[in-house]
């Protein structure tokens, strides 16, 4: 086993009766990497995390942590720390008791337990809370304590199971930053499950997008954003979601995407493996890659339409524009002065677009 990987998952399969929850899944996580498992509910991301933690028995395949095959190992022997969505703090124990419970089970000497608890408390700034019980803590404090419980274990791998989902928006943003700092500070491997794309984009070194028990794409946030492997990933990342045109790639003088009575030239589009193809396809362009006003004038492709709906966000303004009976989302400047019913011209550069095959929906 090569040592550069902190976690290796080989041909992992998990089924409940006839139902396959994880299908022949392979994944390598580098040492010190922050990996986010992203997907909608039921995609198998939490199941995968539970398998790594040893909380679920796998049906087939192997799991390595460090150099060890831990497939049959007890959770506590895998060298992991885990943080749960509902905090899972033991209600009858104080914060200090919660933090030290695992260490006591491991039979560590008392002074060391104390030292580790204090160190974790200091990092997380929960020292004043150590003697309180979970019921007396706020949501953010509880989640800090829960992180502390993972921290004291000095584990090589941290597993987070949607740790911020139960918090309100403000706290979520704060703790997100703290987790990122924590990763920078400790630089151990972290696997983080979430359905929130902002968390995924901001935290991850790499994101694994999952669906139906399989990983659809495993790549850096940038790559995923710019070159989604298939239509599902493209739709999943980005808000508002990517605009799609249903049409056909046709040849002739340079490749074009034909949709209705338009034909978008595809010069500069970065085909996968550099191989241009023709045939039925989806043409996707993100709202933030659309331009309006004077910029639209100079865009390579221009479409005229009518504003249906405006969502001012302060920093940006989102507008839904009806073009040839199709609704397109456009992200504009925060101060854009438009109203429902305005006639408008939108433009974009096809080089920023993504093309997906009509039948297998993979990126072209």
């Amino acid at each position: 086993m090569e040592t550069k990987h902190s976690i290796s998952i080989k041909n992992l399969r998990l089924s409940f009766g006839a139902l396959d929850v994880l299908k022949d899944l392979n994944l390598d996580v580098g040492r010190g990497e922050f990996l986010v498992l992203l997907g909608s509910s039921g995609c198998g991301k939490s199941t995968l995390l539970n398998c790594i933690a040893g909380l679920l028995d796998v049906s087939d395949g192997q799991i390595f942590i460090g150099e060890r095959n831990v497939t049959w190992e007890e959770p506590s022997k895998r060298g992991i720390g885990m943080v749960f969505q509902s905090y899972a703090l033991y209600p009858q124990m104080t914060v200090a008791g919660n933090l030290s419970f695992g260490l006591k089970n491991a039979g560590l000497p008392k002074p060391e337990i104390e030292e580790r608890v204090n160190r974790a408390a200091k990092i997380l700034q929960i020292e004043p809370l150590l003697s309180r019980k979970p019921a007396a803590l706020s949501g953010g404090q509880r989640q800090r304590a829960a992180i502390g419980r993972a921290l004291v274990r000095d584990a090589d791998v941290f597993l987070f199971d949607e740790p911020l989902s139960n918090l309100d928006a403000k706290l979520r943003a704060d703790l997100r930053v703290e987790i990122k700092q924590l990763h920078q500070q400790l630089s151990n491997t972290m696997i983080y499950v979430t359905h929130d794309q902002i968390e995924a984009m901001t935290l991850a070194d790499r994101i694994a997008i999952m669906r139906g028990g399989q990983i659809l794409q495993l790549a850096s946030p940038n790559e995923i954003y710019n070159r989604p492997a298939n239509k599902y990933v493209a739709e999943f990342i980005g808000s508002p979601t990517m605009n799609f045109f249903d049409g056909e790639i046709v040849g002739g003088d340079g490749l074009r995407f034909a949709v209705g009575n338009h034909a978008f030239p595809l010069e500069g589009y970065d085909f996968r493996d550099g191989l241009a193809v023709q045939g039925p396809a989806w043409f996707g362009i993100r709202p933030e890659h659309m331009v309006t006003g004077t910029k639209a004038e100079s865009a390579r492709i221009r479409l005229s339409g009518q504003v249906e709906l405006v969502e001012p966000l302060g920093s940006d303004t989102l507008a839904r524009v009806a073009v040839d009976g199709r609704s397109l989302w456009v992200r504009m400047d925060g101060q854009a002065n438009i109203r429902d019913g305005d006639d408008i011209v939108v433009g974009f550069d096809p080089a920023r677009a993504n093309l997906f095959d009509k039948s297998h929906e993979n990126r072209l």
């Binding site: 509902s86 899972a88 419970f101 695992g102 089970n105």
Partner: protein
């Protein structure tokens, strides 16, 4: 200056006056609304129905036998006597031993405590294993257990006599404790299983990551969290075991007979004079132990089941 003050007062009053047109302040008539009359009326009528037998029993227990013979069961005692109570507790005869219920009281306690402790201990571990540590076949055994809850006790008397005889526990306190444990198991296991299933799974997972094993999680996480359901189980078991007569008398010997044997002997003598006042006093006396536990743990009782059975 005076003018100004007056204007200020007017300004202060103005908004109040504006509100006067509609309903304002607390809704009137809350305490004696039709709804409340219905609720309390129903509860009081129902309570009377529930209290009627107790009333008859208490009144009868305070009468002398000649007064009871007169036959009005509802009339309060003309001459209150506590003699039946004294007799029921300390003088009523069970065959040769004329020391009333007091004779079996200690035996009942001796049977009650280990039976309640063991049956709850085993059923709670069962429920815990079924909720959190399922293994192949565990649900099948549980289903058998639930079906077992429906078997009339009488049918099992002889098979259990034979089983206890074969393992050499027949006639001993241990044997009786095991019998109580067996017959309490179905319902208690169901209760605990439903309770532990409602404990967040993540707590259980967190404890496993923390290195606690089957027993570690049970004792250090689950038990401290589940005191209310233990109280519920205790109430069910105390009531059942304390009032048990059949098992106590079949699986032990006279020196271990529980209080209900005396109660039965006082009440069920087929030939001879029936002292209804003593019967009633004896019944109430026998019921005092479970009743006391209801009173003490009434609130926990409700809370405990709430936690246990919310999730199926």
């Amino acid at each position: 200056m005076g003018n100004v003050t007056k204007t200020a007062a007017e300004i202060q009053l103005a908004p109040a006056r504006q509100e006067m047109t509609g309903p304002r302040g607390p809704k009137p008539g809350r305490t004696l609304s039709r709804r409340n009359i219905m609720i309390y009326g129903t509860l009081i009528v129902v309570s009377l129905y529930y209290l009627l037998p107790l009333y008859v029993m208490v009144v009868t227990s305070l009468k002398g036998m000649p007064e009871i013979r007169l036959g009005n069961i509802f009339s309060p005692p003309v001459e209150i006597t506590f003699q039946p109570w004294v007799k029921a507790w300390a003088e009523a005869c069970t065959g040769l031993n004329c020391d009333g219920l007091s004779r079996g009281f200690f035996n009942s306690v001796r049977i009650l405590i280990p039976s309640v402790v063991l049956s709850i201990a085993i059923a709670s571990v069962n429920g815990y294993a079924l909720a959190n540590w399922r293994f192949k076949g565990s649900e099948t055994f549980f289903t058998i257990l639930i079906v077992g809850a429906f078997i009339p006790y009488q049918v099992m008397i002889y098979p259990i006599v034979i089983m206890l005889r074969e393992v050499g526990l027949y006639g001993s306190l241990t044997g009786l404790v095991i019998v109580h444990t067996i017959f309490g198991m179905p319902i208690l296991t169901l209760l605990f299983r439903n309770y532990f299933a409602s404990v967040p799974q993540e707590l259980f997972k967190a404890a496993r990551v923390d290195g606690a094993g089957f027993w570690g999680i049970y004792f250090q996480i689950m038990v401290p969290m589940s005191l209310p359901i233990f109280v519920v189980a205790m109430i069910l078991q105390v009531t059942g075991i304390w009032n048990d007569f059949l098992f106590g008398v079949i699986y032990t010997k006279p020196d271990l007979y529980p209080m209900t044997v005396q109660l039965n002997n006082i009440v069920n003598s087929t030939q001879g004079v029936k002292e209804y006042n003593v019967n009633m006093a004896a019944t109430i006396l026998t019921g005092l132990v479970p009743l006391t536990i209801y009173f003490i743990s009434g609130k926990l009782f409700v809370r405990g089941i709430a936690a246990g059975a919310v999730k199926g």
